[in-house]
């Protein structure tokens, strides 16, 4: 069990990293892009906007913590 937990913790750390909110925001932005594209609405702007919002937010949280 401990070994499984360690393996899961390693993969979580490897994929998600220091701030899980970044990963969640990316998934949501990809879902919004897919939804808008499926509806025939231009959606190329969603991910760049997500970067512009997410990066300052995660930095702000890190600075506040330090």
């Amino acid at each position: 069990m401990n070994r499984l937990r360690r393996i899961l913790a390693f993969w979580y750390d490897f994929v998600v990293g220091d701030d899980w909110r970044v990963a969640v925001a990316v998934v949501l932005a990809l879902a919004l892009t897919a939804g808008l594209s499926a509806a025939g609405v231009p959606a190329w702007w969603v991910l760049p906007v997500a970067v512009v919002l997410v990066l300052p937010l995660t930095l702000w949280r890190a600075v506040k913590r330090s």
Partner: protein, 255 residues
């Protein structure tokens, strides 16, 4: 994406991780046993090569749209994490990665660990230290090489870039027998973060069904725009830190 850009992105990412792995291997070899450390490096490289060999052809079988969606998302998460770290370090909110200090810490830890042999490995501690260092630092690079390579249908070129970076860093490291403290590691990390984020945005968007204005040429706007955005954030955070320090000094004087 041109072959040159693919090579450069993988080479830089691999060079950053190779510098970190080199520090660990040098500590294991210097403090303990070079032979066991070398076997650890070899075993880790074989494990990484097996992962690349198994996943490389499998990735090429996945439909391009699905591959770009998953890979784009992962690259975007990785890229934002790399950018986050490098912006925090460049603005002084997080300590720079100091290879000399890490080397000293690893040496001290290696000095106190008991010696134990297993099979052909005379010093198990040196073996596991260098195996873990190379494997863990190399895993992310293997992923970057595989995803960039498979998206561009050129895994061999990506693998060549990774091998070249390892050979260059290892060659310099073993020639000077010291951690590469003078490599501008944070700047390289920033550049790789910008590239991972830009390609993550581009491929993730395409995979999710979006159509980029001007198609591939959109990358020529995305890469410099994200780089400028990152540099702007460094400037803002640095100014904020200096202002905070000045305020602290002033309040100390008035007290």
């Amino acid at each position: 994406m041109s072959a040159g850009a693919l090579f450069l992105a993988v080479f830089l990412a691999c060079a950053v991780e190779a510098v970190e792995a080199l520090t660990i291997v040098l500590a294991a070899g210097t403090a303990r046993d070079w032979r066991s450390a070398g076997i650890g490096v070899g075993a880790a490289l074989v494990a990484l090569a097996a992962i690349v060999a198994a996943l490389g052809p499998a990735l090429e079988l996945i439909p391009l749209g699905a591959l770009r969606l998953v890979v784009g998302g992962l690259l975007l998460v990785f890229g934002l994490q790399w950018l986050r770290k490098s912006v925090l370090r460049a603005s002084g909110h997080k300590e720079l990665h100091d290879e000399t200090a890490i080397f000293a810490r690893q040496l001290a830890a290696a000095d106190t660990a008991p010696a134990r042999s297993r099979g052909a490995v005379s010093d198990w501690y040196a073996f596991t230290l260098s195996f873990k260092g190379v494997f863990l630092e190399g895993l992310e690079v293997a992923f970057i090489a595989l995803t960039f390579g498979s998206n561009q249908h050129d895994v061999p070129l990506a693998a060549l870039a990774a091998i070249c970076a390892i050979v260059v860093v290892a060659g310099i490291g073993f020639a000077v027998r010291a951690p590469l403290a003078r490599v501008p590691e944070n700047s390289l990390k920033f550049v790789v973060g910008v590239m991972l984020t830009s390609f993550g945005v581009f491929w993730g968007g395409e995979g999710a069904g979006a159509h980029w204005p001007a198609s591939d040429a959109a990358l020529l706007v995305l890469v410099p725009a994200i780089a400028l955005f990152g540099l702007g954030l460094i400037a803002v955070l640095r100014r904020q830190r200096l202002r905070g320090e000045a305020r602290d000094r002033q309040s100390e004087v008035t007290v």
